[in-house]
């Protein structure tokens, strides 16, 4: 290929700061692909193409790409050509973050935009002339490339170049027919007059920009020290002078306290094990929660302690010095290495407050929903109109001269207090994006309707192992489950041995790698479950129909089959196959447990056994019962084996909601898990474990596994202390000793103690994570909680993207043995590690969102209590932690954790009357290791110790700008006496009450708003369909975040 060689002369800064003349080669070629569907020339047409069904192509220049990238991200804007010149300008001037944003935009198959490498094309490249400024040259190049592009497409499509450079508009505006040069504002006005959101965003960005300019001119007195340049930070980190870490702002003292968690323990900082405290806004120096920062330690005499008293997130600081704990390493931020800004949900201050802010109504300090984010200054004229709404803003900059960061308004979410608005806020805060599936994604889906159900393809049938006639396969799931992704089978082989089978829906057969659906699923990474709704990872045609292993229909599956020795159940052989199966029964847990226990009443509930004559029924039933009991037997055996290696059984209090066909709640899964749940879980763990083995053997450097690192011993301190208060000792040296000592720590009088101890143990654990085997040494693959050396996720491809990746790896691993090409299925180590990071983040976001939505529902439930429902707010509580001015209480009835004060804001302490009900009186507090004593001035004293039962009243503290929080108030220091007999019943009904009632009241509110009485809320408004595996196996994995609802102190920060 003939290439033209030219040279560029650059002046760079040399090592000693002198400028150095550098000559770089620059090759030009005739064969740069235009990536346009209209192209008639012989350009290669692979990869993403610019569509030909738009009215024009738009070419943004450097300035537009740098400043208005967010607007260009609107999916409505189509046919965007990013010139390489513009991309490079972004890379050099705006930094990696924005450049990556641009790269992702271009990579995203859903956006109609491309990059054209104009500087490498021999006709569209223009050398920079002597004395020409960089900006002028960039504009000229981009214009020239736009003209070339227009001519290349033979003038079939007008090209619009948008620029902010007035000179360019006048100079080039009329130069070439068909190539228009206009300003960005002009472009939006003329071409997208209806795209209101874009216009608003444009105004808001523009205003923010102007302000920044005027501010930099003013430059009055610096509020913060300047950040150090990157080179100095890097050198400093290397030499150990500065320390790199991630900033975590304290939830409860967001104004003052933040911790820096160390990142990548270097050899020099090993003596510094703990986190570093950053005290005060000046020391934090404009870093925002989540940023990667460089920290310099302060001298020892300036070290401070953290506050341990309970507090209520007051904006002003009232912390007296005496409540601080021992001094810990304290430092100050000297530079930010990576900013981690996202979009934030904020609320405008109420009218009275905003007036007091004074001077111009244009600039407003808005308050983020997340306490840990500082107030953001934005300019908008819409402040009045947006008073009662939750809105999204974006932070643009934070100059050293300004107390608060500058930002701009992006969009409105919904009214404050409105269910939909609040849920939208939760989604944005966790960066969850759940637009409905697009047409192009749906068009990739196979067709299946009730009239024309999906059928097995005869060609595919030949390739797969057919288990339809040979195996008795059945699924066991919770009631109302739609997406059945796993099924089981067991049978006796001719040689007398047993064959155990786990069959998982073959999702990857329908979701091709890098298809639109795949891209979307990867972006979502998991199905999101909120209390009253869920957001699917895959379109429902797959998740609820074609990939769901329903009974009586043929389905594709991936099966793992083990041959077991008949007596000892030793593994003899394992094989992995693509199969066709037909599930015989779709059982619910209760029915399966009934069969196992020999309870014949449940037989009537099994649909598949109806309409059969008595003899066949008995025969079939006998077969099924044999299979279930055999499975249970095998599972017990497996479990015992794992227990002997130290598998942990941990406690997570979770109340599951069950639904009937119409998605109405009718019951709760009993808190004691049925044994059959363990059986299913154990089989899944086995399948996951063996698949992990297989893929890590075949792809030692690029397999996706799941690790659970052992916890750091110091996190167990609190657990040991609490246990010793009750006279138990907990041995945390290994998972085995921990499991054993937790089993022993059981108070026969009070089962909640054991539960609390287990939940504390879970709090101390680190999270299980996905990782790529190429990125960490083999000894770290271990899964601590399950006590397995290798583990992955394979069994739920419908709702987790990790499982889809593992399915592809497994396919590749089995293909590997037959033929060569596996490229499509396998990621490189680096890509996979990146993907794992993404999935881990999304998973955490999903858990946070679920937790927050639960909290939202609790608050709505307790908020509208009337006198007659008052009773439900009073409950029994158990003290599980002591603080200097209060205690942390667990309410078993609702599974809530919260803080209760022993000393209130006026400085009064609690005291008890004759009937042991409590009152506030002046007095003092004394805190001991395991108890707290309040003494009034009159000499009466009350002592609260760990694991005491008290009666608390639950009430909701409402807040305009933040999420409502649940507060507890001690009203009696004796266990709660229920007057009526329905205690136990209460216990179970409560959560269903809650969700039902909250949605009803939300419904009522909506109706009131739209007086016309349009029926907006229909069935799917209350669609629950929670089919999260309700098994112990689930709990084990997601235990940490699903555990107790913690509205009080975060234990570790």
């Amino acid at each position: 290929m003939p290439m033209l060689r030219t040279e560029k002369v650059l002046l760079l800064r040399g090592q000693q700061g002198r400028s150095v003349r550098v000559v770089r080669e620059h090759y030009l070629r005739p064969d740069v692909p235009c990536r346009c569907a209209l192209c008639r020339a012989a350009c290669p047409r692979d990869g993403k193409l610019l569509s030909d069904d738009v009215t024009h192509y738009v070419v943004p220049d450097c300035k537009v790409v740098q400043d208005y990238l967010e607007i260009l991200e609107f999916p409505e804007l189509k046919g965007i050509i990013f010139m390489q010149t513009a991309c490079q300008a972004v890379q050099h001037q705006k930094g990696r973050r924005q450049y990556n944003q641009l790269r992702n935009l271009v990579k995203d198959a859903r956006h109609d935009c491309i990059v054209f490498a104009n500087e490498f094309h021999q006709h569209s490249y223009l050398p920079r002339e002597k004395g020409e400024s960089m900006e002028k040259w960039q504009t000229r190049s981009i214009y020239n490339a736009a003209v070339w592009y227009y001519n290349h497409c033979l003038g079939q499509m007008p090209v619009v170049m948008v620029t902010e450079d007035e000179d360019a508009i006048s100079q080039y505006g009329n130069e070439t027919e068909g190539v228009f040069v206009i300003s960005f504002k002009n472009y939006l006005d003329n071409f997208w007059p209806d795209l209101k959101a874009a216009h608003e965003l444009f105004d808001s960005i523009l205003q923010a920009q102007r302000e920044r300019e005027s501010e930099s001119q003013e430059n009055n007195g610096k509020e913060y020290p300047e950040h150090l340049p990157v080179e100095i930070l890097e050198a400093g980190i290397k030499s150990g002078r500065y320390i790199q870490g991630i900033l975590h702002v304290s939830k409860h003292r967001a104004q003052l306290e933040a911790l820096v968690r160390l990142q990548g323990f270097g050899s020099k900082e090993t003596e510094l094990q703990s986190d570093i405290l950053i005290y005060g806004a000046r020391a934090r120096n404009r870093a925002i929660h989540g940023d990667v920062v460089a920290v310099e330690l302060l001298p020892l005499q300036e070290w401070k302690g953290r506050t341990v008293a309970l507090c209520e997130n007051e904006t002003e600081d009232k912390a007296p010095a005496d409540t601080a704990s021992d001094p810990m390493p304290t430092g100050k931020v000297v530079g930010i290495i990576q900013k981690n800004w996202r979009d934030y949900v904020v609320t405008f201050p109420s009218k009275e407050d905003s007036q007091s802010q004074g001077r111009s109504a244009q600039k407003i300090l808005v308050i983020p929903l997340d306490y840990r984010i500082p107030k953001i200054r934005i300019s908008t004229q819409q402040a009045e109109a947006l008073q009662d709404y939750r809105v999204v803003v974006h932070i643009d900059s934070w100059e050293s001269t300004s107390v608060y960061p500058n930002g701009h308004f992006v969009r409105v979410l919904g009214r404050i207090g409105d269910l939909e608005g609040e849920i939208a806020a939760i989604l944005v805060e966790n960066s969850i994006c759940v637009a409905p599936f697009s047409e192009i994604q749906m068009s990739e889906m196979p067709v299946s309707s009730s009239k024309n159900p999906w059928k097995v393809n005869p060609e595919e049938e030949k390739k797969r192992l057919d288990l339809r006639d040979t195996h008795l396969i059945f699924s066991i799931d919770p009631q109302g489950c739609e997406d059945v992704d796993d099924a089981l089978s067991v049978r006796t082989l001719p040689n007398g041995n047993l064959e155990l089978g786990v069959h998982i829906a073959d999702v990857t057969h329908f979701v091709a790698a890098n298809s639109y659906t795949d891209v979307e699923a990867r972006a979502r990474a998991t199905t999101y479950y909120l209390v009253d709704r869920r957001y699917d990872m895959l379109p429902s045609v797959l998740s609820a129909d074609i990939c769901s292993l329903l009974s009586g229909v043929d389905r594709y599956a991936v099966s793992v089959l083990w041959e077991l020795e008949k007596e000892s159940y030793d593994m003899l052989r394992v094989c992995y196959n693509k199969t066709i199966i037909r599930s015989a029964y779709k059982l619910v847990y209760e029915a399966a447990q009934g069969l196992l226990d020999g309870d014949t009443n449940v037989v009537g509930d099994i649909l598949e056994l109806k309409n059969l004559d008595e003899r066949t029924r008995q025969k079939k039933l006998a077969e099924l019962v044999w299979a279930i009991s055999k499975l249970t037997d095998i599972a017990r055996h497996l479990r015992a084996k794992r227990d002997s290696c130290g598998a942990l059984e941990l406690e997570g209090v979770e109340i599951q909601v069950q639904l009937d066909d119409k998605h109405k709640i009718y019951g709760l899964i009993p808190k004691q898990p049925l044994e059959v749940q363990d059986t299913v879980a154990e089989c899944m763990i086995l399948a996951n474990h063996w698949v992990a083995k297989k893929i890590s053997e075949n792809f030692p450097h690029q397999a996706l596994l799941r690790q659970h690192p052992p916890p750091r011993q110091e996190f167990f301190t609190r657990l040991r202390e609490c246990a010793s208060a009750k006279g138990f000792s907990i041995d945390t040296r290994s998972n085995k000793t921990l499991a054993e000592s937790l089993d022993k720590a059981n108070d026969p009088l009070d089962p909640i103690v054991n539960k609390l101890l287990r939940s504390m143990a879970t709090q101390a654990m680190s999270n299980a994570l996905y990782f790529s085997t190429g990125s960490c040494p083999e000894k770290e693959f271990h899964h601590y909680g399950l006590a397995l050396e290798k583990y992955t996720h394979f069994t739920s491809p419908i709702r987790r993207y990790a499982d889809i990746v593992v399915h592809r790896l497994l396919t590749a691993a089995t293909l590997n043995e037959t033929k060569g090409d596996v490229k499509d299925y396998v990621f490189s180590n680096k890509d996979l590690q990146e993907l794992c990071r993404h999935i881990n983040n999304r998973k955490r976001a999903a858990q946070r969102a679920q937790k927050q939505s639960t909290k939202l529902f609790w608050c709505m439930y307790f908020k509208d209590t009337t006198t007659e429902t008052e009773e439900r707010c009073i409950a029994d509580g158990v003290i599980y932690s002591i603080r200097t001015n209060g205690v942390l209480v667990f309410v078993p009835r609702y599974g809530i954790k919260g803080a209760a004060y022993v000393k209130n804001k006026e400085g009064l302490v609690i005291s008890c009357q004759g009937d042991r009900s409590c009152e506030w009186k002046p007095g003092s507090l004394h805190r001991f290791q395991n108890k707290i004593t309040s003494t009034t001035t009159t000499g009466e004293s009350v002592t609260l110790s760990l694991f005491d039962h008290i009666t608390v009243k639950i009430h909701v503290q409402t807040s305009r700008c933040h999420a409502d929080t649940i507060k507890l108030e001690i009203i009696r220091n004796t266990p709660y006496q229920t007057s009526d007999t329905e205690v136990s019943q209460h216990f179970h009904v409560v959560k269903s009450d809650l969700a039902e009632e909250v949605s009803q009241s939300a419904e009522a509110a909506q109706h009131a708003q739209e007086k016309a009485g349009v029926e907006v809320i229909d069935e799917d408004y209350r669609e629950y369909c929670q089919t999260k595996g309700a098994s112990l196996y689930q709990l084990l994995e997601e235990i940490k975040d699903l555990a107790l609802l913690d509205v009080s102190a975060d234990i570790r920060t």
């Binding site: 290929m1 150095v20 790269r103």
Partner: protein, 245 residues
């Protein structure tokens, strides 16, 4: 600071080449009349000059003479003006000494030294402008110079470097690409037989990647061979035309 991007998403390197493309090569043989053989080569902005004397009798201490083959003596230097900041010493430091040794090894493998026992062949290589792949340019220039001197060789020696961007191997690294700090593999190949005269790897490279990088470097060497071969034939045509007159 993060390292610069070696390969853009569109598949171009910073200077506009595709991953497997070489820089522009220009070469000339017989640039000096006094020497027995000489050649000049440009690979992109890297410019190298090679001069060959010999085979001739041993100079200096005769005791060094080898009874069964010729001694290959190499010198390698970078001109003081060859880099963007002026160098103090053109040779004599550790690095150039090492490169000279490597040159010597390479050519001892390629030249049929047993045809000239007890004699000496001198190869002097000077880099006039350094812009990545200095050693490779030196080897290529020296090959042409040895041919110009009419010394029998087994084959051309073609040298080329290769690196790695993410998973894609890059052929013929330029100096900014070398400076990025990735792995660099230098290969000197006898293209006809596919024998390797020298293989050098700096920085760590995963074992699984080695094959692809090596393959890319080999491909580049074969492409280079085609170019060098054309130069030699061209030169031959010139010389025979002169003789014919």
């Amino acid at each position: 600071m993060a390292a610069p991007e070696l390969l853009s998403d569109e598949g171009y390197r910073a200077d506009g080449r595709r991953p497997a493309e070489l820089r522009k090569i220009r070469a000339r043989m017989g640039v000096f009349a006094q020497a027995d053989g000489s050649a000049y080569i440009e690979q992109g902005n890297t410019k190298a000059l090679a001069v060959v004397y010999g085979p001739h009798e041993m100079r200096g201490s005769r005791s060094k003479a080898l009874p069964d083959r010729a001694l290959v003596n190499c010198q390698y230097s970078v001109a003081t003006f060859g880099t963007s900041e002026r160098r103090r010493r053109p040779r004599g430091d550790r690095q150039t000494g090492e490169l000279a040794l490597q040159l010597q090894q390479t050519f001892e493998a390629a030249i049929l030294t047993q045809l000239h026992p007890r004699s000496q062949i001198d190869i002097y290589v000077q880099i006039l402008q350094a812009d990545g792949g200095n050693y490779c340019a030196g080897v290529n220039a020296a090959t042409l110079a040895v041919m110009d001197a009419g010394i029998p060789m087994r084959d051309y020696v073609c040298a080329c470097s290769a690196g790695l961007a993410e998973d894609t191997p890059l052929a013929d690294l330029s100096s900014p690409e070398e400076a990025a700090g990735g792995p660099r593999l230098v290969l000197a190949l006898l293209p006809a037989s596919g024998q390797i005269a020298l293989l050098q790897l700096s920085a760590r490279l995963h074992q699984e990647r080695l094959e692809t990088v090596l393959e890319a470097a080999g491909q580049a060497c074969r492409a280079l061979h085609a170019v060098l071969d054309r130069v030699v034939r061209e030169r031959l045509r010139e010389v025979t035309a002169l003789l014919g007159d």
